[in-house]
Amino acid sequence: MRHNIKSYLFTIIQQFRTKQIQPAQKAARLISGVRLILQMFRSNRWLMGKNTRTKNNSSVDEGLIAMFLKLSPEERLKSNDNAVRAILELRNAYKHQKDAGSGSKRYN
């Protein structure tokens, strides 16, 4: 994405220099350029949670931990129970489909 933005900005600057575009077009291009830069910042930094790189080079979602810490111990257990139930249900459904299965189609 950064590469695309760079080449886009480069093209705009070149067009401005060589006066290939009209003033109205200039304004429109500038606005879309600013939008694109904002989009870059949002997508790369502001919209994503901050992750920590640990010593063994794995990534930890700090935001998720902060969110989980806000819950009470009982809510945390409930959240785990819900996750376990969902996992078991999915496993069961998958097993059922596999057992039922010569007619089923696998998508991957």
Binding site: V60, I65, L69, R76, N80, A83, A93
Partner: protein
């Protein structure tokens, strides 16, 4: 609608903990659920406890296990119910119950028993009762020494959880 779908096994790990409390079993919550209760966003499929091995406590534990239809978790389909004397030995007993899997451990890493671990626990309020939970700091120390890949994988999340807890 298919009617022959096997019913998803029950899993209510909170109910296991509540049942242990109501049965007045002396235990320390260890493993993944001890991490979850202290704020680590990991998912664990079973309850791990280290129990006090006094005969009175073993009787209470045994009665509770009977009440939730506990049978040994096995690769084959043999149904083997526990016996009271199983819990006085130094070993692990892994059960399937009608409300979820429960691992009853007489010790954890470095042969640490209930008595050894008690001073490394924190008290957590749960449904109006207090339970003993192995402190996340100790959990981390034990996991650091573990050779189990699952433990190694969880370690960064536990460490970050502790970091945020200490920052508070």
């Amino acid at each position: 609608m298919p009617t022959n779908i096997k019913k998803t096994p029950e899993a209510d790990l909170s109910a296991i903990i509540e049942g242990l409390i109501k049965a007045e079993v002396k235990f320390i919550l260890v493993g993944g659920l001890a991490a979850v209760i202290q704020g680590a966003p990991v998912t664990t499929m079973d309850v791990d406890i280290v129990h006090n091995r006094s005969s009175e406590n073993i009787s209470k534990l045994f009665e509770f296990l009977k009440s939730i239809d506990a049978t040994y978790r096995r690769q084959d389909n043999k149904i083997i119910a526990p016996k009271e004397e199983d819990f006085s030995a130094m070993g692990h007993a892994l059960f399937t119950t009608r409300i979820g899997p429960l691992d009853v451990l007489s010790f954890i890493e470095e042969k640490k028993t209930y008595e050894d671990l008690l001073k490394h626990t924190i008290e957590i309020e749960f449904r109006g009762h207090t339970i003993q939970v192995l402190d996340i700091k100790v959990l981390i120390e034990l996991k650091r020494k573990s050779k189990d890949p699952k433990d190694r994988q969880r370690l960064p999340v536990l460490e970050e959880t502790l970091r945020q807890l200490e920052k508070k």
